[in-house]
Point group: C2
């Protein structure tokens, strides 16, 4: 059975919310309450989970730790994942120093760049190698995921090389859409694209602030 991608995309959100609940010491949660925390209907959550099994107890709900464990296993988070970063400019260095990866089992084990100013230098105890050594390095010490933080003009070539080196998942910080063979996963991190989807809704609401909180009669 092929599980819809939208369902998979929601699982990490469930996991994130469950972690917060566990932190707060909650032992049980209903689809109702989980849905309220995430802005998702309870039916949606139950349906999503039913693709993978039966995790709840009628009349009670879901055991927080238990469901979290199950979702983590479904997502493959019960192991560590190795990543290679390409592009160690400002953005790349910020990615290298991001503390959020390791606690979830994601580790950057290689860093590549072409800039002679950067190659050979050490960031976060990782020596930057020249991109020309990419294939060789990954043959010796493979990774599961490639993280791309190079200028958009260079991104396609970098991604091609990662894929040829056996990488089957790309986290793409470059503001472009790469072409990859089927079976290779790509996810985009592009704050500007997200901002642009919000401005559409902001546009033409300039008057709202002014009107806000006024006597409703003023509107007529």
């Amino acid at each position: 059975m092929e599980i819809p991608g939208v369902v998979i995309a929601r699982l990490p959100l469930y996991a994130q919310a469950l972690e917060a609940l566990a932190q707060k010491g909650e032992e049980v949660v209903s689809s109702q309450r989980l849905g309220e925390a995430l802005g998702i209907t309870p039916a949606q959550i139950r349906k999503d989970l039913s693709y993978f099994g039966r995790f709840g107890k009628q009349g009670r709900g879901y055991n927080v730790a238990g469901l979290l464990g199950s979702i983590r296993q479904i997502l493959g988070l019960d192991r560590q994942w190795r990543m290679a970063l390409v592009g160690v400019g400002r953005l790349g260095r910020a990615i290298l120093s991001y503390e959020g990866f390791a606690p979830q089992g994601f580790h950057i084990v290689h860093a590549f760049d072409v800039d002679p100013e950067v190659v050979g230098r050490k960031f976060e105890s990782l020596v930057v190698r020249h991109v020309r050594e990419l294939e060789e390095t990954l043959a010796q010490e493979p990774v599961d995921i490639g993280v791309v933080a190079v200028p958009p003009e260079a991104a396609q070539e970098v991604i091609d090389r990662l894929v040829r080196a056996g990488v089957r998942a790309i986290l793409n910080y470059a503001p472009m859409t790469p072409r990859v063979p089927p079976g290779v996963q790509v996810r985009r991190i592009d704050p500007v694209v997200l901002l642009e989807t919000m401005t559409y809704y902001l546009k033409g609401q300039e008057g709202v602030r002014f009107l806000q909180g006024r006597d409703p009669l003023f509107l007529r």
Copy 2:
């Protein structure tokens, strides 16, 4: 007529691809070619654009610069947008120094934090203010968008304050799902969540690398 959110979400991708084409000196593009660049069917693109008008010419395609201009106008990118950053830790500083915002008309004009080590310091020619001055500052010099880069435990309160201060769009870098009143736009930037949607597909393919390129008979 209410335009589907998925359609709005694709417009920035069209704009991005059109910018690349314009850069390359292309003057005209068909839905076919644009779709190939983005991994989207030509029918999808034509349908999306038809929500907003008729931009193409039968037998020819779309004028690259013209369509780009139209999409930018639809998205409200024909003006500048002011943003306030809350949280000037490692991540916040990386956001402050990100060069990708300004060229698209997005400008961080305020930065807030609570850490006395950071408040008062200058980053990218912006003096960090204490969060307690948030409401007052935004009353004096309003912004359109709030950018949140605080720890997840603090994010809900920060977002509440931004919303109360009149901000109607939030770019959320904190790994949590905030509750906001209707009409407030929220977009999430969470690399870990994206990584976790990929590991699902990677999981259980450990053998693929080994099998790749081998005699197909080996698979039986």
